[in-house]
Amino acid sequence: MSNGPKVVGFVCDWSVDLVPLMEGGRLREMPSVRIIRVPCSGFVRPSWLEDALGRGADGVFVTGCPYGDCLNREGNYLMRDRVDQLQRRLQRRRVDPARLGMLAYGLHDGPAFLAAVRAFVEGIRALPAAAPPRSAPAAPAPAAAERETP
């Protein structure tokens, strides 16, 4: 449908106000960005981010509230740590960590959020093409313990 890199964004429902920015589950300005609303940025399991990349997404990002103002006190800090960890793990696997992002924007930061997403997408566009998607993406995710082994 669109020609931009396929990006999946997990956005906390308390952070950026998505109602004016979204259309049919995607960002109106960047239809290649699919938004998944989550109850808190800390809800996102890093393996989902990894899965999304493995299944052919060109980039994934998580958006929480500004640091210090998580509705659930610590969700965004915890998520930032998990994203850092996952980035290091991806790097070991020769996946460019720029494909994974952590953003923090409040209810009123719509324009800043859009700008950050745009920068993120542009960063991905500049990267060399990713490895082809894993085959048979419909199979249930393998247990994490098995996925840990490189």
Partner: protein
Amino acid sequence: MSTGAGIAPSPPRSRYGRFMTGVLRGTLKLDVWINKVYPADYNPLYYTGGLSNLFLFILVLSGIFLFFYYEASLVEGFASVQYITLGVPYGGLIRGVHRYAADGFIVAVLLHLFRNWFTDRYLFSRDNPWISGMFLLIFGGFVGFTGYQLVWDERAQVLTAMFVGMLRSLPLIGDWLARVFIGGAGVSDGTLVRALFLHIGPASALYVMLWWHYLRLRHPKIWPPATWVLASVGLVFLLAGVIPATSGQPAAPAGRPASFPMDIFFLIPFWLLNYMSPFAVMVLLGALFTLGFAIPYIARREAPQEMSVRHAGVAQVIDGNCTGCELCFFDCPYNAIAMVPSPAPGLSRAAANRTWLAVVIESRCVECGICIGACPFEALELPKFLERDVQAQVLEAVRA
């Protein structure tokens, strides 16, 4: 198939809901402004709780100092405060610190209350911090009032008379309460002894309530960042030095001053007495605090069904997958996960040798889902927003 994807939340219908949504937006807009001045890690509005605790700590330290010199009797009360102010080295400064830290405390507490109210931080199981917070507010306000009494100047005398009038206005128990408060039929030496106890006793009780306040929080932000600690301590000392705390005229048995300086933070109920009968003021206070206690139960901005993914149900442990790794236990910000000895081995390979099992304490869970992100073994789910739903949305995104 995709849960909640791209569905705009319907705007809240009730007028109260619309108003609170406006206030929520206003509060967060204020944050945006303050974040332009201070980096987000230093935004003082993110640390109203820590600031309150800091001021309380200053109050305790300076209060212990004052306690050494204070004498609770009608004759000595005023004189000992004068002696502290003028005779004791740095006594006047410490008295001022006690005075201004009390103002700082009540300001920080009110900011804390309104901020958490306006940003919906009392929902679901977070009613416990809210209720304990209301108790803290009532006790804190009362401690402030008895502090004014202890100085036993003209103002203290009038305040006491006003408060006794308010107590007496209550039907049935009024007279009895008034006797308990002043320790007899009229003001006597015993009155100040009681005031001293009613100052220090409830102040100590604040720490018991703080324990309750923190009980459901993991890593509560008890202190503000160091810069704000220094700034607050400095500000309190600066004020105490520049505008020393003073007493009015000593209390005289028959004296009844026409006016005295009102403290806007602690003495608002007494200011209201200018316009209302004591009974009306009591009713108003009672109604305010009753409403305050009821906020978590009656004042929802949105009905739960309007909350979409934000009301996804209490987290559930999938027994067979849990390995007892404790990661969710460490990450749950509300202490809602307990690790118990595993009654039986799990089903998955990783869980077969577990010694612990995670259990969600349902009454504490606020449905945030942070534990789901923490669990690497797919052993936790939010019942109304399953991993399956998330995966479906991811698939849909990458297929298009």
